[in-house]
């Protein structure tokens, strides 16, 4: 029933009835499966992908690279937790390569984000350095291209 997850990942508005028809299952089976996924925290939420830029809302997003000293017995997890608990942090990943932790931060202004980095992230114990990169334009997010034409413009042909 992994396919349910694929369907919901692409369109969380699908009803249980619709999913049941699409997969050739009963509504009860679909209901039970989704409930199980929710109970097991496989399904964590039902978010909506919004192009805020179109609403005129001015937000900034930054990607911050952190270099961190891992702690004995805990690795990076403890530091990461201190970081991801901030609501401004939208995503937090442990990385391979040239730095250790990626933090995606959203704020109202560049200044606000920069201050958050300077006041909250950089001073954290075990954080060695930060590098902040501001997002200028989002082309694609969560697998969705923002400016993709979605209109079906195929013309009728006599097959």
């Amino acid at each position: 029933m992994e396919e349910i997850l694929e369907l919901l990942e692409n369109n969380s508005k699908l009803s249980e009835e619709q999913i049941a028809v699409m997969l050739g299952k009963t509504v009860e089976e679909v209901h039970e499966t989704i409930k199980k996924f929710e109970d097991e925290n496989v399904i964590l939420g039902y978010n909506t992908l919004i192009n805020w830029e179109k609403t005129g809302k001015e937000d900034v997003t930054a990607l911050i690279e952190l270099k961190v000293t891992p702690q004995r017995g805990e690795g990076f997890d403890k530091v990461a937790e201190r970081i991801y608990r901030y609501p401004q942090v939208k995503a937090c990943y442990l990385m391979s390569g040239g730095f250790d932790i990626t933090v995606i931060v959203e704020g109202k202004t560049m200044k606000q984000v920069a201050l958050f980095v300077a006041q909250k992230l950089a001073p954290l114990e075990h954080v060695l350095s930060t590098a902040t990169h501001f997002v200028l334009k989002k082309y694609k997010d969560k697998g969705t291209i923002f400016e993709e034409k979605t209109k079906d413009d195929r013309e009728a042909i006599i097959l």
Partner: protein, 387 residues
Amino acid sequence: MNMSEMISPTIKGIPPSGIRKFFDLVNEMKDAISLSIGEPDFVTPWNVREAGIYSLEKGHTHYSPNAGFMELRVEICKYLSRKYNVDYNPKNQVIVTVGGSEAIDIALRSLVSPGDEVIIPEPSYVSYKPCAILAGAKPVTLNLRVEDEFRLTPELLEKAITPKTKVLILPFPNNPTGAIMTKEDLDKIVDVLKDKNIVVLSDEIYAELTYGGKHISIASYPEMKDKTLMINGFSKSYAMTGWRLGYTCGHPDLIAAMYKIHQYAIMCSPTTAQYAAVEALKNSDSDIQMMNREYNRRRRVMVDGFRKIGLDCFEPLGAFYVFPCIKSTGLNSEQFCERLLSEEKVAIIPGTAFGECGEGFIRACYAYSTENIIEALKRVGKFVNSL
């Protein structure tokens, strides 16, 4: 000069498509919802498009060898071997054609002499009959039946065969019915054909689009391989309709004959499309899978929708069409579709477009977004209830 008198009587004898008027209407009605176009709504996978673009950037804008680039023919043979268990020699058993359509045309022209009979199971794709007539053959229509779920049965086939039969068209998975031939179905057909001098023109353009079981090619039967001309292509499987690229594989003698027509009439298939197709065959199995799964879900939505409306609909297991029966409405196919278009602005094709035995049926294509399908079904429901 009266130009009309100059036109060949053979061409005059071919009736224009009966649904041309209907299509003119569809094209005029800009806000109509359509379930009528028989092609994937997906855009060609990006890696495939990118390969085509790259070939243009590199200046690969010349003719290819007549039969197609060897690299492509090799990849086609590998693909057919791994997917359908049929082995061909890329040197003398493959021609890369301008869509499957060219292959149908040059196959029939290579095979038939005046008076030869070509058996065409109907309902089916609209090109077989005109191509047979243009080749000088006598088309023999074989009416498939809904009670067989539009599969070809040995009884129907035996009845259609005469001493003059030269070719059998085997169009499965089928447009417009969505019917497929399972191994058990094919076993019986092979029993009928194995000792006869009849060439099977197996149009397998929808081979990647089967739901519930893998497509079986009649060419994978050792006793049928040499008698079968396989036609396939990139249009449906890789969503590449506009690239115009197909291929055909078969006995070296038949391929050599077809090669002559291809060489003189066509020269070679589009070069850009051939570069893209190599990429498709090498690296797009996962795209095929993704599209197949998506079609399958839409298929279920559509079959379920028509049944809930109260229209009989056998479960089609191939291509991307459903073929519901509309006899219960009291309308014939054309009336149903014309009224549906004018009253609810939904374009669906009357079954009669695919042969007389399509009367009482309509062809709805699910190569459309699910939202589009659901809205169209809602309108069909409203229309049927208003009758």
